[in-house]
Symmetry: C2
Subunit: 328 residues, 2 copies
């Protein structure tokens, strides 16, 4: 069997983020739950965008952010996702290449426009996301480059990709290809509402296809329908070889091989925008694993990468993450 | 004659900024002069964008930024400019309305795409701009809403608009309409290279159409082809009723009615991105004039607005400027 040539191959909804600062009252008026991710259609996209304040645009997409994080840490990564040949698609395509991530899916020449995520950030740094899937809604098996998947040490699957109808099949197909090549399959649960929508499918996927699970504590508790994190942690041990569970400012818990490691959060002067925190955590953790580091160090890389991205607006690192972990 | 109902009507190239952080070596490799504004064609836009790092997108355009600044200060403003009915045109259209600026030009349904400005920001906050005019290159007399111009206390003309071929006529037409309605016409020289390209036309416009001139010291010296600012200031007295000349960290000089006021720069903790400094200076100055404030206070408003915009990435205010001048 060939050695992998890429640290992490990520699959997810390719999106451009549209970020504005809003008040908690605005979030409430729009009927949104602070911190949630909501799927929206084109009509809702137009009406919500029309009500939002002045925004900036930045390439996003959870799985894409993670591959960018891996590259920023000094690792190699490749992304699989679907955008159109429109202006926002060009922006996505430019930024992922400029970040040093491999990306070879051709820009789609028909179908819905490039997807976007309208992100409302409040003064406390909390982000509420509204995703118009657009071109991502057609991501399918044909978009999975099997050679790329086989080349990746880790295949990283974004839970949000359970929402588009054709993507679940692509998900399982990619996981099978990775396993057949002897690779490790990682999944992030992405969002507790996403878990609510797809609980049974997630549970089945976990048992049959996933070696490494990323989740925050709400998502993990939602997955097992329990209130107590300790019970959820016990349950995940049965389903998965390894899990990393984030707890915001309380740090994270790594479950592996019967053991448990508690990792403190890295310090942040002021939380500005929490978008991308989980994405960067996964990037740091998998980069550490790919470099053969011990689990505590992997957790530390993860926490440092997450702390950097929440200290500024936007879902991707503003500095080279490799510089932040150079001495570790 | 009717009283004006709008504080400032601005005319300019409507652009979406594409902002990345680059090294001085990259600026040099690209053959660019740090701090300059360069006009680029579509081919150059593609090659330069392809070489640029990860970017963010934010609505810009010098004159548009100024109208946004006036609205942020609590004044009323309207913008005249040309974008297409594409994704970046929608971004521009959304942001200017969201900022509270009147904007009623219909999105063009044919011709080149919405213009953009590729802005390379270095560690010292210096910005080097590369403008692809796109849809703005077709701005003409038909895009000047005469009723809007007559409604504005100040008509603010962006010097950059001398570059597109059809715009000079629109410029003079708008100035004539404003003067016939008893309004004040303001012009910014925008950029010393722009002055180089259009020196004779600028001089003629100044003598015949402009009541209030905004310039930085390089632009003013270039206009009169002198090295000594004092000589340039003496010359501008002959051509214009009022002039406000900015000198970066040395503050600004206001020339009016035979008198002179030196205004200190407002303090800035760290200069992050100088894009929009001149635009916000003009916004603060005209807002003060429109509110009947004395010239020293107008200069202070101008300096405070400029200091805010250079303390973060992006060409428009990140906070409500009205809050920063509330006690003055």
């Amino acid at each position: 069997m060939l050695e992998p040539t890429i640290d992490v191959v990520g699959i997810g909804n390719a999106l451009v983020d549209v970020i504005s600062h809003e008040t908690p009252e605005f979030i409430a008026e729009q009927g949104l739950i602070p911190g949630s991710m909501n799927l929206i259609d084109e009509e809702r996209r137009e009406s919500l965008y029309g009500s939002m304040g002045v925004a900036i645009e930045a390439s996003g997409g959870s799985g894409a952010n993670t591959t960018v994080g891996v590259a920023s840490l000094g690792g190699s990564s490749h992304y699989l996702g679907r955008v159109r040949d429109d202006q926002l698609g060009e922006v996505f395509n430019h930024d992922i290449h400029a970040a040093g991530v491999g990306y070879s899916n051709a820009l789609a020449t028909d179908g819905p426009p490039t997807g976007c995520c309208l992100i409302l950030v409040t003064e406390d740094g909390q982000r509420t996301m509204n995703t118009y899937l657009g071109a991502s809604s057609l991501f399918g098996v044909a978009d999975v480059d099997e050679d790329v998947v086989r080349s990746g040490r880790y295949l990283y699957l974004e839970g949000y990709l359970f929402d588009p109808p054709a993507a679940q099949e692509a998900f399982r197909h990619a996981a099978d290809v990775a396993h057949d090549a002897g690779r490790t399959v990682a999944l992030t649960l992405s969002d507790s509402f996403c878990v609510d929508r797809h609980r049974a499918d997630f549970r089945r996927l976990l048992e049959t296809h996933v070696d490494l699970l990323f989740a925050n504590q709400d998502e993990l508790c939602s997955l097992y329908e329990v209130d107590d994190l300790e019970i959820a942690l016990k349950a995940v041990r049965e389903d998965c070889a390894m899990a990393a569970v984030t707890r915001s400012e309380k740090g994270s818990v790594i479950i592996a091989g019967g053991g448990r490691i508690d990792v403190p959060a890295a310090p942040v002067a002021k939380v500005i925008d929490t978008t991308g925190a989980g994405d960067m955590y996964a990037a740091g953790f998998m980069f550490g694993l790919a470099r053969g580091r011990d689990l505590a160090t992997c957790g530390r890389f993860a926490s440092i990468a997450a702390a950097e991205v929440i200290s500024h607006v936007g879902p991707r690192p503003a500095v080279r993450l490799a510089d932040l972990i150079a001495e570790i």
